[in-house]
């Protein structure tokens, strides 16, 4: 196992959400993408890097998990782009985040009894940051964009 795991860290107040940087092939700022939809019967599409991506609003998933304070109005969106088995996907985040590298050995699987349930929400591992903070690693590839119709933010450009 590599010693370090590069992650994007999103501070949600009560906990941190982590996204493994290597789950994505690129990130695009708001000026670099165009958002369309959602149209009738289909999810929103995000065009970036010369490709159409099925779009999933991470904000909605975050609210479902943590009910944090909403992001500030002037926050810019970032699209994390992935090419998985389900095709090209874009995970849209409105919150600020930072990138850092964490020791891989500090991560733990969730207890067996709740592991499958948490995985259905995209949470696949965790890390205790010091004594008082929980960090949850999300693999957004486990989330289904078809559940997210209508969930895309309204700032399409």
């Amino acid at each position: 196992m590599p010693r370090q795991l590069p992650v994007f860290l999103v501070d949600l107040g009560r906990a941190d959400l982590l996204l493994a940087a290597m789950d994505f092939y690129a990130a695009a700022s708001q000026a670099e993408f165009r958002l369309e939809g959602p149209s009738r019967g289909g999810p929103a599409l995000l065009f970036a890097k010369g490709r159409a991506h099925v779009c999933l609003a991470l904000e909605k998933e975050i609210e479902r998990l943590f009910s944090p304070e909403p992001p500030a109005e002037d926050e810019l969106s970032t699209a994390f782009l992935a090419k998985g088995h389900g095709g090209a996907r874009a995970y849209l985040l409105r919150r600020r985040f930072e990138m850092l590298s964490l020791p891989a050995r500090d991560f733990r699987l969730l207890p067996l009894g709740i592991r499958a349930r948490q995985a259905s929400r995209g949470i696949v591992a965790l890390r205790f940051e010091g004594a008082g903070r929980l960090q949850l690693l999300m693999n957004p590839g486990l989330l289904r964009p078809e559940d997210d119709q209508g969930g895309a933010p309204s700032e399409s450009s």
Binding site: M1, P2, L5, R14, A15, L19, A20, M22, D23, R64, L65, F66, A104, F107, R108, L109, L110, P111, L112, G113, I114, A116, R117, Q118, S120, R121, I123, V124, A125, L126, F128, A131, G132, L134, L137, M138, N139, G141
Partner: protein
Amino acid sequence: MTSEQLVESLEGASEGDRSPDAREEMERFFIFEVGDSRFALPPSDIREIVSDLEVFPLPACPPYVSGLVNCHGAPCTVFDLKVLFENERQSPSKFLVLNAGGDSVALGCTEVVEIAELPRSAISSFSEKDAETRFCSRTIALEGRRIPVLSIDLLQRQLESDLA
């Protein structure tokens, strides 16, 4: 390294950590309190008692799962028996970390009372149906009180059913 690769390597590392769910003859019982209620467990069900841990709330869990504790670096799911039995939340001062097969489970408690050694005549069994609804396989008679003997297996089955 992707999150998928991390999970695969963590799963590989944890395979060897699982101890068998050993159950022994049950004549000794570990007695503890949750608020005003007393419960018993076979001592072999308890791996460790730890104090003063912070409970980290976890999303998408039933109300009787109050969250996770960090037990020597390993996450343990915490059951709140007060919520399960009385629909009230408690502030546990101690956690009973359980031997729960491959799972990591802890019960919050307010007081550890004693380890009691009892004759078999002081132990009664529940019917299977009653056991499932009360999460207890048996009761013991101690100092004029009937104390339920919790079944970790039934607690885990309830969680499994609620998360299905």
